[in-house]
């Protein structure tokens, strides 16, 4: 091994000092021959003969030098360098062509790389937990209702922990906040209420300990799980607020957390501290969490305990756990799923009232990203792959055209003894250099595209904020560049290498017409390009039309100039009812600003997924048609001025008034319902005066409908209107609520003034998620918009490439058939005839491409259906429009060069031959 290294180093050195070595060798040989000659003379030979014999004895001096040269340095490297040099010289002479080819390929590679970086972030990058490939999430799915949440009730979690054997541990957790108040400073910490197994499942490195059974405290009101007054602190908050004090472990901190029994902070014992920052695991969005961007690290863990006593009550209404489990080593996903299927069946029998029709799905944590995003990503990847293919075949066409023009060069080289592989290698080297430059430019393009599109990426996929060019992405870009080089380079290389069976004759017969097989190959490439472009155009067209349709949807309120933010007091700073007082004062304070025309509050952030839904209680006169039908509607707590502020029409009865806010907490006398609510539960009857009751938890208080409000699409533009029941906020105080203010100018400009007013009401008040309603609406469509933006960018790009491709084909045909065309003109063919002949060479394969592309698009768009909104996959406007665009583009691209062909002066052309 060492010998090889030494020899290699010497070789490299010899390569660098080769001039000198060759000079030395020459002089050595000279000396040798002289010595041999004088020896021969000494033996009595005449001088001339002596010299000749010396030469014979020595062998061919040139051959020795040749052999030596091969040994000093690396012959293959040298010829490669020669090839590179040749390619660079060639590109230097054809700068325009080189630039065009690089830009075309860079577009393809750049788009592919950018999309791959999205895929890498979402699908491939390992999650930041030890042995994360064994992590799965268990989702509970209710097949009997359209209730969207797949979270798990504590009773079910306890049942799984007892029964399931596929897992090392099963953990349940939910998102929570606590407040840390210190003088005027208030910090809202966000963390997890988690079962003790969480630390094992996620492999949290701890100083101190995790939770034990003895941490279990008293059951709190409104909570069906037990929590204790212990916690584990996250690494960052430990460093930031407690200076990484190790003595804190075993000590105590005072935290403001929801506590109905008394006012003030609660003392928590710190049993452990995370020694490294730990990321939040996936959390299903809900009305509390909203679309909060949980890419941060966990500030704290508080214990949650589920126990066998809860087995009898796996109520879906309590489903608040996200559940993640760690598979035992060697257990496959299918095995785990099979076991959970059995458990789900058992549960359906045992707790038939709540669990009938419930299924359990085991999903690798890595794959647990929203389904639409996955589909969209697949579509995007397909789109970019097509774009890259188009770019490749485009450049291949260009190279083929060049190859034609270089036949003489190839013929001369072949005649001078260059073997065929040398010529193939030369062409491949050119393609490789092209692809390398294009790859470099492509990566830069991708980096730029990623930066530009990052803010557009949907909030629901927070990981996407971390996408970027990393090593994996670079390797991918490199690979795609090499593949690109092979695809673009191979065909032209082999064509050129075997272009001339009788090389020297082609020196004589200059400017012959195109070979049949050559034009067939070009034709195939053009057809492929056009076909792929048709697919891209139709796909992009359908998405753009969907986005347009979606943006036309009526929200049910006036979204212009609305500022929204979540406001809240530190938990437990005052008694619960003070929340209502604070909210009322905050609304008044904001309203008094001259730049604000109206303000109100609503519980839950509009246009963000997740609702506070109710599935119990009674509705006067409504009998479910069968017992599988469950009551579902969303409850929205609002201030009296809400409908006026949002400009939601009151279609019957009246809006809330101040008097509706008087009375006992939870005992509303007056409610409003949405039109959809009235239609669903009291079809054809007058809803006014009818009552709704939430059931026992609210002492069966009867709440009377005093008005009907217009429908609102609270869950986003693409969802149907929600079925809503409105309650007055003063009777149902909320811990955090969304302030909505109608501004006179740009809403976001008013945010600082609003913040100041609210802080004046309470210096510790928290303001979060400050957005304009326009931003919220855009956010609800972010996935569609991000996807549409990218895919629809591909359509025009592909079109440009196709135009370039068709143009170059015609140019090639015109150059190649100049003689032919000249003879035709000379023989009297009119210019029109000549134009038609030239155009036919490109339009025939283009027509084939359109037909094939349409067939392919039929298949592709069928797969896309789930991504379309109120647009059929066979949307006639898109299809006809796409067809016209591509046809026009092809005709235009072929007409211009064909016109030029027709203007060829036959005499000049013939003379040139």
């Amino acid at each position: 091994m060492w010998v090889q290294v030494v020899a290699f180093v010497s070789r490299v050195r010899d390569l660098l000092t080769r001039r000198k070595i060759e000079r030395d060798l020459d002089s050595e040989i000279e000396t040798h021959l002289d010595l041999l000659t004088s020896e021969n003379i000494r033996r009595g030979m005449p001088p001339g003969e002596a010299r000749r014999m010396a030469r014979v004895r020595f062998g061919g001096a040139t051959q020795v030098q040749e052999a030596l040269r091969e040994q000093a340095g690396f012959p293959w490297l040298e010829t490669a360098i020669q090839d590179i040099g040749g390619a660079l010289r060639y590109f230097g002479r054809n700068r325009g062509f080189f630039a065009v080819a690089i830009v075309i390929l860079a577009l393809g590679i750049g788009a592919t790389t950018a999309v791959f970086s999205v895929a890498e972030t979402l699908l491939f990058r390992p999650l930041p937990y030890p042995e994360s490939d064994r992590l799965v999430t268990l989702r509970s799915i209710d097949t009997m209702s359209d209730y969207p949440s797949t979270r798990v009730a504590p009773g079910l979690l306890a049942d799984w922990q007892i029964k399931a054997t596929s897992f090392e541990a099963i953990a349940g957790y939910r998102w929570a906040t606590v407040d840390l108040i210190d003088g005027a400073q208030s910090d809202r910490l966000s963390g997890l209420l988690a079962t003790p197994e969480s630390f094992d499942v996620f492999g949290v490195p701890l100083l101190g300990r995790s939770f034990r059974a003895e941490d279990r405290g008293a059951k709190r009101p409104f909570e069906s799980t037990d929590t204790g007054e212990t916690l584990v602190l996250g690494n960052e908050v430990w460093r930031r607020r407690f200076d990484a004090d190790e003595a804190l472990v075993g000590g105590a901190v005072d935290l403001h957390i929801l506590n109905f029994s008394r006012v003030g902070p609660t003392r928590y014992t710190v049993v452990g501290v995370a020694t490294a920052p730990v990321r939040f695991p996936p959390l299903e969005a809900d009305f509390q969490l909203g679309d909060s961007n949980v890419i941060d690290t966990i500030d704290f863990w508080m214990p949650q305990f589920v126990s066998a006593t809860q087995l009898g009550e796996p109520r879906s209404g309590d489903s608040w756990f996200d559940v993640v489990a760690r598979l035992r080593p060697g257990v496959t996903l299918a095995q785990a799923q099979a076991e959970m299927d059995v458990i789900a069946r058992l549960e359906a029998e045992q707790y038939s009232e709540t669990n009938r029709g419930r299924k359990i799905r085991v999903v690798p944590l890595r794959e647990h990203i929203p389904g639409e995003a996955r589909n969209g990503l697949l579509l995007l990847s397909a789109g970019t792959a097509m774009l890259l293919l188009i770019a490749c075949s485009n450049v291949a066409t260009l190279l083929l055209a060049r190859g034609l023009a270089r036949r003489r060069e190839v013929a001369i080289r072949t005649a001078l003894g260059a073997p065929w592989w040398r010529i193939v290698r030369q062409f491949l080297m050119e393609a490789l250099i092209l692809a390398a430059c294009a790859g470099l430019l492509g990566v830069l393009l991708a980096a730029w595209a990623i930066n530009v599109t990052r803010p557009w990426m949907p909030q629901s996929l927070p990981l996407l904020q971390e996408m970027g060019i990393n090593l994996t992405v670079l390797v991918f870009a490199l690979t795609s560049a090499v593949v690109t080089a092979c695809i673009t380079g191979l065909a032209p290389a082999f064509r050129s290498a075997r272009a001339d069976g009788a090389p020297l004759t082609s020196l004589v017969e200059r400017g012959v017409t195109l070979g049949k097989s050559h034009s067939r190959l070009v034709g195939v490439l053009v057809s492929a390009e056009v076909a792929l472009t048709v697919v891209l155009l139709v796909g992009a067209g359908l998405l753009v039309r969907s986005a347009f349709r979606a943006s036309q949807v009526e929200t049910g309120f006036n979204p212009d100039n609305l500022l929204t933010m979540t406001i809240s007091l530190p938990a437990n700073k005052f008694d619960w009812d003070h929340n209502a007082v604070f909210v009322r004062e905050a609304i008044e304070a904001v309203r008094s600003l001259s730049s604000i025309s109206d303000a109100a509050v609503v519980h839950g952030v509009p246009m963000v997924a997740g609702d506070f839904s109710v599935g119990r209680g009674t509705i006067e006169g409504y009998v479910p048609p069968n017992d599988t039908e469950k009551l579902t509607y969303s409850v929205r707590v609002v201030s009296p001025g809400y409908f006026a502020t949002m400009q939601i029409p009151i279609v019957a009865g009246r809006s809330f008034e101040a008097r509706d806010e008087e009375g006992q907490r939870g005992a509303a006398r007056s409610i409003l319902v949405s039109e959809s609510f009235a239609k669903r539960y009291w079809p054809g009857r007058d809803p006014l005066g009818r009552y709704v009751s939430f059931g026992e938890a609210f002492r069966d208080w009867k709440m009377t409908v005093v008005g009907v409000a217009g429908d609102v699409r609270y869950s986003g533009l693409e969802m149907g209107p929600t079925i809503d029941l409105y309650l007055p906020q003063a009777l149902f105080p909320q811990r955090a609520i969304t302030l909505i203010a109608r501004t006179r100018g740009d809403p976001l400009n008013e945010a600082p003034a609003v913040r100041e007013r609210i802080r004046a009401v309470d210096q510790h008040a928290f303001l979060a998620d400050i957005r304009s309603m326009d931003q919220l609406i855009a956010g609800s469509q972010a996935e569609r918009r991000a996807g549409t933006l990218l895919v629809s960018a591909f359509g025009p790009m592909a079109l440009v490439l196709v135009v370039a491709g068709v143009y170059s084909v015609i140019m090639q045909a015109v150059v190649g058939r100049r003689l032919d065309l000249a003879i035709r003109s000379a023989l009297g063919a009119g210019p029109r005839r000549v134009v038609a002949t030239a155009m036919r060479t490109a339009l025939q394969p283009a027509a084939v491409g359109i037909a094939l592309g349409a067939l392919a698009a039929l298949g592709v768009t069928r797969v896309m259906t789930s991504l379309l909104f109120e647009v059929s996959a066979l949307d006639i406007v898109t299809w006809v429009g796409g067809g016209i665009v591509i046809l026009t583009a092809c005709v235009a691209a072929s007409y211009v060069p064909a016109r030029r062909a027709a203007r060829i002066d036959p005499m000049a052309a013939l003379r040139a031959e």
Binding site: V3, S10, L35, G59
Partner: protein, 115 residues
């Protein structure tokens, strides 16, 4: 090139060994001297294409088994002198051993088939 009676082609790979051994025995020498010496020792059995000696010298130098420096030949011509290095000696010892073992085996084998 014609082949003389009783003369053999140099066995592939053995030239390097011969050059090393020569340098070990007679000390620093130039290419011409090495070629002469090998032919003398072999009683002109080897038909040496003398140019190949230089290829061998380059190979050996790249492996650092020999070193080279400029000097003057007997008739006062500028010539490059080659000398065996420490690692060259080690390599020579190793290859000599290998060679003798193979030669021994070959000899036994050939005697066997004759008998």
């Amino acid at each position: 090139m014609t082949k003389g009676q009783g003369r053999s082609e140099v066995l592939q790979g053995t030239l390097d060994l011969m050059v090393l051994k020569t340098l070990e025995v007679i000390g620093p020498q130039h290419g011409y001297g090495i070629a002469r010496r090998i032919e003398q020792i072999s009683d002109d059995v080897f038909q040496l294409n003398e140019g190949t000696v230089y290829a061998s010298l380059l190979r050996l130098r790249q492996r650092r088994w020999i070193s080279s420096s400029w000097g003057y030949s007997e008739n006062n011509r500028k010539a490059k002198f080659y000398a065996i290095t420490q690692s060259g000696r080690r390599q020579l010892a190793k290859e000599t051993q290998d060679w003798e073992r193979i030669a021994g085996v070959m000899a036994r084998l050939l005697r066997l088939s004759e008998g």
